[in-house]
């Protein structure tokens, strides 16, 4: 047993960004370097944690040795490890991008705004990362609430960072949504605590029984999470908030922050309320997802601005995640559906980050992001367009991307349980996605003079987008091990006959 095997890696993945949040606030000059180093550090700690979980199954760690019911417990299973890997990898790419984005002299119009952005981006981003990692490792619902709130505040502040009127208005709306969502969630936590005298997920899992109490707790918590997760028709706040933020922030919000709410919903649904949920509620959530896919895609098809198109694509893609609830109803396909949606989260995170970064590059070079006028500039930025295209491939779900593998599993779950309606929806959604991605890409092939960029786009900004989009595509070729890992600690109800 070496130090590598025994180190409390779960703790590190929270402590590192938390301390970096304070350091970046104190040492503003070094902030980008601290930020990049921290995300690299979190990659290392996640790797350590992953090795531990692969080796010896799900982990539990009592901070300071207090344990239940007094202390804070952390736990890690396959699902949390994959989520942490996601936040770490996306974190590195976005940090590298942001280091250039916020330091580039002509990145923003006004120097004052720029200094202000640079000063606050790094601490907020580090707190966001700490909140996110804490959330993925939380072992009790109160801790989930706390990290959700921390995440919400960091996210709202980041969304307001651009300082323009539209951004501030959008951020205020986001704040209201975020607060009311958390409040709903907190009510649910209070009900469960009052009824069962514990907040620990594992302890609660055995106790929660169907009844008005559990139903109201589920309803409150789920609605809070659906609002925060921007699930149709509660998505109204997302497109303006994501589209008006500075580019690295848009990427973080779209790729990581909305996934946190979905993660909690997934945990609650399968672990806590396994005995409470009914097929009707599952179908209801699935229908919300269907609405999201169709409505989000239709909106993306009509957006005049690039970043809004990408943001509406997020609304649509989040819809697919909701399909896990109806598809997991059938015991035979539950594990496939579960793996599918988690892999979808990973693939979407990579692809969407890459797409926002690429869109940001294009907008930065052009000085605007009106899709209709992008012809010349897209041809001046082949790398960013390539990143956009590769990310698009994953969002559409074309092979061999991560999105393809996720959709393959979704289809497998749908067809395996004879649910042809959902299968059709998945395919239609793919074709719609192809339509809105191509809306942008075909400008890269038109016959025009190559435009001279208004602002120079630094290499690192192009390459970090491209690297992530490549990852999104390659995810399709390395799905076997993550999917295997997911079975570690998957909720008990997942072990369907014949699928172990």
């Amino acid at each position: 047993m070496t130090l590598w095997d025994t180190a409390p890696w779960l703790l590190w993945s929270i402590v590192l960004p938390l301390s970096a949040g304070i350091l970046t606030f104190l040492f503003r000059r070094a902030a980008p370097w601290i930020g990049i180093a921290t995300t690299l550090g979190s990659v290392v700690s996640v790797a350590g944690l992953a090795a531990q979980v692969v080796h010896s199954g799900p982990l539990r760690y009592s901070v300071g040795g207090w344990g239940v019911p007094l202390g804070i417990d952390l736990r890690a299973d396959g699902l949390s490890v994959l989520m942490l890997v996601m936040s770490a990898v996306i974190g590195v790419a976005v940090s590298v991008y942001a280091a250039r984005y916020f330091s580039d002299a002509d990145a923003t119009d006004e120097r004052a705004v720029q200094a202000h952005q640079r000063a606050y981006f790094w601490p907020l981003w580090m707190f966001l990362l700490a909140g996110l990692n804490g959330l993925f490792l939380a072992a009790d619902i109160f801790h989930l609430y706390v990290t959700l709130e921390l995440l919400g505040f960091a996210a709202v502040s980041l969304a307001a960072l651009a300082g323009k009127r539209a951004a501030v208005v959008a951020a205020m709306r986001y704040l209201l949504v975020s607060l009311s969502g958390s409040l709903f969630f907190l009510f649910g936590v209070a009900i469960l605590y009052a009824a069962y005298a514990t907040v620990d997920l594992t302890a609660l899992a055995g106790k929660v029984q169907p009844g008005p109490l559990a139903w109201s707790a589920l309803a409150l918590m789920a609605s809070g999470l659906l609002i925060k997760g921007a699930v149709f028709p509660l998505h109204f706040w997302l497109p303006p908030a994501h589209a008006n933020a500075p580019t690295p922030v848009s990427a973080l919000l779209s790729a990581l922050v909305v996934k946190a709410s979905f993660y909690i919903l997934l945990r609650l649904w399968f672990e806590l309320f396994g005995a409470v949920v009914t097929p009707a509620t599952a179908t209801f959530l699935g229908l919300l997802g269907a609405g999201a896919i169709l409505w989000g895609s239709a909106q993306a098809l009509h957006q005049p601005r690039l970043k809004l198109l990408v943001a509406y694509s997020t609304v649509a893609q989040l819809g697919y995640l909701m399909l896990v609830f109806p598809l997991a109803q059938n015991a035979g396909s539950a594990l496939t559906a579960w793996s599918a949606c988690v892999y979808f989260v990973l693939a979407h995170a990579c692809a969407k980050t890459a797409m926002f970064l690429a869109a940001g590059n294009i907008a930065h070079a052009a000085g605007h992001d009106r899709i209709a006028d992008l012809d010349g500039i897209t041809q001046a930025l082949p790398l960013s367009v390539a990143a956009f295209a590769l990310a698009g491939i994953s969002l559409i779900g074309l092979p061999p991307s991560g999105g393809f593998i996720a959709k393959w599993m979704l289809l497998q779950a749908a067809i395996g349980s004879g649910k042809w309606g959902w299968a059709t929806l998945i395919l239609v959604g793919s074709l719609l996605a192809a339509a809105y991605v191509m809306r942008v890409l075909w400008h890269a092939f038109t016959q025009v003079e190559v435009a001279r960029p208004l602002h120079r786009v630094p290499r690192t900004m192009e390459w970090s987008a491209l690297a992530l989009s490549l990852l999104a595509v390659l995810l399709g070729l390395m799905a076997a091990r993550p999917v295997e890992l997911l079975r570690s600690g998957a909720p008990v109800s997942m072990h369907a006959p014949g699928q172990t």
Binding site: P382, I393, L398, P399, P400, F404, I405, K407, W408, M409, L411, Q412, I415, G416, A423, L427, S430, L431, A434, M438, W442, F445, T446, Q447, V448, G476, L477, A479, A480, V483, E484
Partner: protein
């Protein structure tokens, strides 16, 4: 870690890596790009040669990658994949030479040749795919890598064609995906093997397998341009000539046809397919497409459009030969996979030369072309006669076997289709040949870039001469070892268990 394990991967990478490097070359790096292109193409031909020699010596080449538990990406070399891989790698080599000459001095060449190479990797992947999911992956990659080639000119018209192309192919791909997943949930991981692998499953899930077959054929039929899914093909004619040549002869259309062949022979197995009763409808659709394409071709004045409708018709010979249950028609269909490729690529090369050197785009402008460009026109003539089915050219061999097979299985209607189609082929090709060789030129050429005399650039001329020679050789030497016909006989014997 031996060569057997990696050979197939190298075959894919030989063009893929070349493509990636080319993307990053400067537009002016003409020599380096050409060098790389030719190097990649040659390397691929050599590696495919090694593979064929190995397959003959009963070597097993296989590479696997686990995509998901119970789902593998499989590359495998068998007799069938060797057939298609050879076709695509050899024709890629000549097309590369042609494309270099054709696009000289045009913008966006790095982009063009990058996607060109990736397109060929995708085609090779289609050839080497060892199961349906692998096939699907490369089939979709082919769609993606050909789109930039179709819209290469960037005009309103070509973008429109590209849009149509994507709508058709992506919808077809979605159906194919649906069928693949469905089959996977029914039968688990199924790999291609001569004789088929679904005989067991067919006893329990008859109706499902019929539905899956219909979905598969619809999905593949889009690229194979089966009626009524052919609409994209004539529009895609706006692409530069080398792209049309590649699309029609090797890559897209052929990938669809090859897919149909794979599904019938290597997935379902010809006996199972016959027992399920799915071959007769396929034969019907193919027969209708053959006549429909020929009739439409008759009324096109644009040379490339005429050739495009001719492709619609000719590719369905492959489907017809496959769908007529019988040893000989199988030989005919599979041989036509190769023969149609070399004939059609010759025709498109020549059409490209006429357009590029003299500005001749229409059939009505072709009077006197034979005197002006005897070599190019000779190549065109050989290929056109082959298409009609005149002996001793390649097309005759495949039509002959399909006909024999039709008679053998008692499908006399198919013989009638063959006869009618040959008559139609003659009706739309012979007037071209007549005008080109025997009519006197009255007007000046629309746009003479060769200044009054001579053929096109040698890089344009050499490829059609080579492929025309192949058309002759494949016909005259049909019984020699290593001819497409002999190779196909070998495949067919295994399939029918002889």
């Amino acid at each position: 870690m031996n060569l057997d394990h990696w050979l197939l991967v190298f075959i894919l990478l030989s063009s893929f890596v070349t493509g990636l490097i080319i993307f990053f070359l400067k537009e002016e790096a003409h020599r380096l790009r050409t060098l790389l292109n030719l190097f990649g193409a040659l390397l691929k031909v050599i590696l495919v040669g090694v593979m064929i020699a190995g397959v003959q010596a009963n070597h097993v080449y296989e590479s696997r990658l686990e995509l998901l538990p119970g789902l593998d990406l499989v590359l495998r070399a068998d007799a069938m994949s060797a057939l298609f891989a050879t076709l695509s790698s050899v024709l890629w080599l000549v097309t590369t030479l042609y494309a270099v000459g054709y696009l000289e001095g045009e913008p966006h060449r790095s982009r063009f040749f990058g996607f060109f190479s990736i397109c060929v990797s995708a085609t090779t992947g289609v050839a080497l795919a060892g199961n349906l999911i692998t096939f699907l992956i490369f089939y979709e990659l082919l769609t993606l890598s050909t789109y930039p080639l179709v819209v290469h000119r960037g005009t309103e018209k070509s973008l429109q064609a590209g849009r149509t192309y994507l709508i058709y192919t992506l919808s077809g791909g979605a159906l194919l995906l649906l069928a693949t997943v469905w089959l996977h949930t029914l039968a688990g991981p199924v790999e291609f093997s001569l004789g088929g692998a679904l005989a067991q499953v067919a006893t329990q899930h008859r109706s499902e397998l019929i539905a899956i077959f219909a979905l598969l054929i619809t999905g593949l039929g889009v690229k194979a341009a089966l009626f009524p899914l052919h609409g994209w093909l004539p529009q895609a004619m706006v692409a530069p000539a080398p792209v049309s040549a590649l699309l029609h002869a090797v890559a897209v259309v052929k990938a669809g046809a090859f897919g149909i062949v794979r599904v019938v022979y290597d997935l379902y197995g010809v006996y199972t397919a016959e027992a399920l009763g799915v071959l007769a409808p396929l034969a019907g659709v193919a027969a209708f497409t053959i006549i429909y394409g020929s009739v439409r071709a008759l009324f096109q004045d644009d040379l490339k459009r005429r050739l495009a409708f001719s492709t619609v018709s000719q590719v369905s010979y492959i489907a017809l030969g496959t769908a007529l249950f019988g040893y000989l028609s199988t030989i005919g269909g599979l041989t036509h996979l190769v023969h149609q490729g070399i004939m059609k690529i010759t025709l498109f090369f020549c059409a490209g030369i006429f357009a590029h050197t003299l500005g001749v785009h229409k059939v009505s402008e072709m009077a006197g072309l034979g005197l002006r460009m005897p070599w190019s026109m000779a190549a065109f003539t050989i290929a056109a006669l082959g298409m009609i089915g005149v002996p001793p050219f390649a097309g005759f061999i495949s039509k002959w076997y399909i006909g024999l097979g039709a008679v053998g299985s008692g499908s006399y209607w198919a013989v009638a289709i063959l006869a009618a189609s040959s008559a139609l082929n003659a009706a739309y090709f012979l007037p071209i040949l007549h005008a080109a060789w025997f009519k006197k030129r009255q007007d000046p050429w629309p746009a003479d870039h060769a200044h009054g005399a001579g053929e096109g650039h040698w890089m344009l001329l050499a490829p059609p001469l080579v492929t025309a020679a192949l058309v002759v050789a494949a016909g005259v030497l049909a019984n020699a070892p290593f001819s497409p016909l002999e190779w196909v006989r070998y495949i067919t014997e295994i399939e029918y268990g002889k």
